[in-house]
Symmetry: D4
Subunit: 251 residues, 8 copies
């Protein structure tokens, strides 16, 4: 559908029938696997690695989608929220798979080479926020970024954060994961002049409402550099950070 | 009712009849003014100035309660959330009244002398939080405290806050008023080892929900020194801070 | 505080006394105007135009801050959520002021030259979302970006959006403002491989809860490219988009 | 009670005593099974198959209600939210039972013949929404409708949806099941001029609040063709769609 | 975009150039009026009258869109949530306009003839719900339906509702508007075997939360025939009811 | 409808035709005034005064309903949430009307005589809760009860409440109106062994959410004697209290 | 504390020392069992059976409190939310215990004789609401009331409810338990002129929010006879109903 | 960072190099253990025992942090929300550990001596609130305070609370833990003139929303002495109470 013009041209010069053109517009961009429509064109369109959301799929489904993508030319596929079982099935079926425990990400294929010197910075407030931060960090790495991590740097011990101010201020994008009161992105956002992607985490108890309080706090950040993704969505934050980091490539 | 023992003793030694004792237990602690029961004993029991909540009363009601208290021996009465009209009526009726615009507090009578060297620190995040901060500050002053103010010190410009760290760390209690993401109490709470009373303000828009977001964020503060009062309740925060400051008096 | 090292060096070589160094660390980064602490260093640190949030300030306060910034070397200052009165006072006081009605932004000084060919795309769902979209668009322009606007392109008429797909896909960052069900960012986010900053608007009625529904929907976007700012926060979205667009500059 | 007139006539002509008439008005429309009052007249009044909500009943209760209905003349009974155990008990007890795994529906008796050429279209956004979509689809089939399914057609890959636009536009009613941001009904609702019944699903995490976000988004749909049923209520959506499809029957 | 096939055919047989075809796909379905994109094809595609949402538009905007539609062949245009000013401007500009006070709807042009004998039933619970009910009723009438109204029939006086049971049971679709506890759609939904479109109204106080309680109650209706639209959305309910009623037309 | 049996008997003995009987079942219990269906039988069925909810009616509507009721034999009619205008119109039209300012209740006709010695007790927490308490108290009086009032007896001054413990413990039913934290019903509920009807009021600010906090607190009362009505619903509380008080009448 | 006068008299006539009087005021009304303060006087003050809330206690704790009460003269003790284990321990320890499965209530001792002819009516909407209804019904029976039950009488089959109208209208108090949309109390409340105690149940799914929707709907009941207790609080409803029923006793 | 001045002085007099000074400012205040940054200076700065939040850490992590603190000079370390396993590991590894079951606190090292005569009072409403109250009480004891406990003193039995009024009124700070309606802090707050720290507990069911209702009620306390911490945060309440109690030390 994106390529309307070239399909129209082919129809005009007779190299494509009306019926075929219509079918192409309909079926081309994905492979229908019954339980899912796999988008085999996205890699070409976006130049990025492929992503499978592993949480709601059986190991068999995830591995079979991964294989389809690899067979269609993907060099690297990552499975997020990946159960250990899925990784083990992938290994067993001979795929070149690697597993990052804390990030719950399975990487299949070859990690992309780092072409840039720039880096993305991933910060988290407490030790309980590390899994979400790692999901963001590994995602950005799989998508070709250098990543620097600053963990356990909550606002109630502000000197721990400030001692890393240079690293933070040198990044092209910053991901900040925090639960409870979600205050860290505001402090970080005031230190930098690059986008800060805030990830509320479900860390906390009582009136943290499983991340809702952090989410609302982050939405109200007094720092203009802050935008927010869903609770515990480390993947989304890492993905967006990688898009910003990539923006510096010669285009 | 609080003095059960002494009333009982008086009954026993005959200086008080059973009927009188019963009546005393019932009627003593307040004056019934029809529209309100004024607690004329509280000053004696608590040694503090008297407080009238002005928001839901007519100028006539507030001024008449104030006069009753003064007539019963109060040296200083303050009217909070005080409409200008009420202050003007008090002046007009010959009461010794003073009005603090930003704090919306009317002070009737003589401010108590400051007996202590210690001080309470009142901090606010943005210029819009100043009225709430002032309500806290003036309340503490009326209740006999020294107050130091640090205003417009939001977390997105953390150096503005840190430049006043010495003042903050020297207080006996700290009040922190903030709206939007409500992050400031956590940062302050990590700097000090005295109680921090956090006041969420209704400053903000959209997902600030008129202070609810700040309230929830403050409830989840990662600093163990922080407790929270109602949205915009500067009076309560100042009152509690004064109780803590007074705790250092020889007892 | 950011320049600890150079201040330390000056102390060491005797060109700066300990007392002066301490004072500098404390007072340097801003001018205290009583009602506000104006950050005169941010322009130097961030290379951007200055921003004053006009909603909670009197015309006198806004104009006096703007003048302070211009006097300290800012070339362009913008006042957001600017009441018409403030603009008129600025004109009257001889400042070089321009007013954008729909965006509610007053621009004081000289708009920066556009140095890039790249552009930011600003999209909105309905005609009622235009003020928020304009706030984002003008903000990005003041911060040096080219902007292309696509307005009234709601998802219930998907062909209106798709007819502009080329423009959308060519941007370096996309801002999407939508109220009601907040579905537009997901559709746009699926078309592009650059960051999409979603702005929920307070447009709607009943169960739109003044933008909360749109905010929650956007937080749950199935497109990985979407992050979200506060309800009606066009300024924040435009600011972040400009940071991403600027990222392509030679560094 | 609905037949007041005929009962009254029978009383008048003496064929019915006052006492009997009164009892009839009271007891006729259902069979009291102790734990439930089974409505054996509904089939007659509504011409539809019977439905048992299996979730809150023991296998014994569901099967015994089903048998009562079959014994009273029902040709087809369906048990929704049916535990596998219930189906197995029905088989074991000699009932003509069929089980649809994904839809969690047990069908007892003979499926109605399809008398119409028209069809209902059931669409879902992601693979995780399929159980809810299947509940709607099987319900409509049991109630005599033809059903066409379009699954995994989320708005972030809008071309997947549009490639099936013809099928969607030819339906007499459309059911759309979606979780997360719940945007799909708005896009579908803009394509068609028949009623769209939107079913929010509990698919998602974090700020999806188990379907509440999708529900609210759907309530705010900018497409006028959309109405909404409860979270995960595939049965209700399929039921309503069948009523609309049936509306085309000669009446 | 919907007519891909015929455009493709025209391209193939040379009656349409590639460039023209591309432009058609893009620009054909609407007229861009600057402040709005007016969909002049919808009437052709859907055979219905046109609708303008008047609440967020100036009288000038609404009237000018109405004129554009009439000029493009619409026979009847309705403006919902129409301020009286808009109606008066339309009259003044010579348009054939009619105003329904309670429904807040302005009708421009000729009401469609009623071609069917069937009717839609519109019910409301209390007198305060009448404006919403009237919006639904007039909408259905403008779209060609017969409408029967049953007003002030709340569930706490169940005999008032039951006395109209015959009328209710004879409709092809039922709209039920209710505020407060929103119980009426469940009772009505149990009486009929046609779709019931429930409209929560903002009528009530305290814990009615401006219609939220009624909305939630209706979402949980124990009657399977009930689906729900947004609070006070009488237009949407009337629109969907008319689609169902029209379904009986020979097709 | 309630009298099925006697209507059936009349049909049987020929004193009533089938058609008449049917009509009676349908039309008897109310007078249709166009804008409202007035229930003229309720007084007979319930032996109570009549009530008109004045908030959503014009003075003309309220007065005309009142007159209809008086003309049909009501001795006393009360209009709740009554605008002063309505009372003045009633006076002007010659009705025997009385107005209770604080309670916002207009009484038309003759107050019933008190036949019982028992009394209902109405308590409120603060002076701002008095209007709601008065609505309850006057309602109970109009419905024939003796009422004792205890006002301004909040839980933070528990001795004020306890000094009236005898009065509280002697009532047949207790109404407690409180805003803010809504704690009073629990304390009262622990003192008595009669039903306590709790009325949350919208008194408070910030996290009182216009009565929601008080409502939720009252729902969770640790006293088993407490049930709750809607926010500010003094009428309902007084009505229920009167039903309980009346229960002691010889029956 | 309730008997201040008699204690004072004893002090006066010397039969009680001041110290003893003080201790009595403090310790008399309950037995401190370490983990709980058991109120042994309540039976005397209230004439009712005793109640133990079993949910948060170990079997040992519940049984030991029960024994303490029996030893202090209670004739009947009931344990609500009683785990089966607790009942079995009571039996094993030789207490005269009876267990009501559906109501989850263990009765220890002798059920009170029914002294009245009057009865309480307990109604529930669906079969899933029966446990809550039974808790109310058994509670009322243990407290000396006759109870009539009407179960599975939801509003979507209004004839099932109306066929029992006579029973409902003859009660002295009505308990109505309903989940989902919580509409039943409004319908019942319109039929009767005695208090209706509504119990929202946690029955439902999706937007029922575990009873919150039913609770809010019931708070907004258009029937003035309805007050509400906490979700699933059958005990509270039965307790209040028994207080009302008892009110008819000669006093 | 707190000691900027002394570090600057050392740089000036040459005893510290610029590089070393910079490193000190950065690294001094904590030991980085990989999974956590342990603040070894806090004891010096605050003179208090150390606290480890045990809930989100493995036994190995908690014990290893505790050992690090003890090795750095801490005399007493407490682990809150401590799993029994962690205590057992500590014992096994030869640490001097003590476990308080109800409080879920493990104490490692030597309890501080009590230097003051003053005491903190900890009150709870019901037996289910005891674990939270104990967490507060033990925390205060570990931090050097005397503690007096008053448990099971809910507001529905107000005499149980009042019998301990003397103890309550003699404290320097009061902690009040309560679930359900959260009314107790208001009653206590009215009795005393010292700060009351209210802890909402998650005790309750239905509309208690796991402590949210109690939290909101406490935020709205009519007693000015009350501030609030997070749901079930006994530790925070005890910590703040200890800071207030300590305030009386000669300073």
């Amino acid at each position: 559908m994106m390529d309307t013009k070239s399909i129209l041209s082919a129809v005009k010069d007779g190299s494509l029938s009306v019926e075929e053109a219509e079918r192409m517009l309909r079926t081309q961009p994905y492979v229908d696997m019954g339980f899912a429509k796999v988008d085999t064109q996205r890699r070409i369109r976006q130049g990025a690695s492929e992503v499978i959301y592993g949480a709601s799929k059986t190991p068999e489904q995830s591995v079979s989608i991964a294989r389809t993508l690899i067979d269609n030319g993907s060099e690297c596929v990552m499975i997020t929220r990946c159960p250990k079982d899925t990784y083990e099935l992938a290994k067993q079926e001979g795929l070149d798979a690697d597993f990052r425990d804390q990030a719950r990400i399975c990487i299949i294929g070859r990690m992309p080479e780092k072409k840039r010197e720039s880096y993305v910075c991933v910060i988290c407030a407490g030790t309980s926020d590390i899994p979400v931060a790692e999901e963001a960090a590994v995602t950005a790495e799989v998508l070709g970024c250098n990543v620097r991590r600053i963990y356990d740097a909550g606002v109630a011990g502000i000197h721990r954060l400030l001692s890393d101010a240079d690293t933070i201020m040198g990044a092209t994008a910053v991901v900040v994961a925090a639960g409870m009161e979600g205050a860290l992105p505001s402090v970080v956002g005031g230190l930098v002049s690059v986008p800060v992607i805030a990830v509320p985490t479900s860390v906390g108890y009582g009136a943290s409402f499983e991340g809702l309080t952090a989410l609302l706090a982050m939405m109200n950040s007094c720092a203009s550099t802050v935008s927010v993704v869903n609770i515990d969505n480390g993947f989304g934050a890492g993905y967006i950070a990688s898009l910003i980091d990539r923006r510096g490539d010669s285009q």
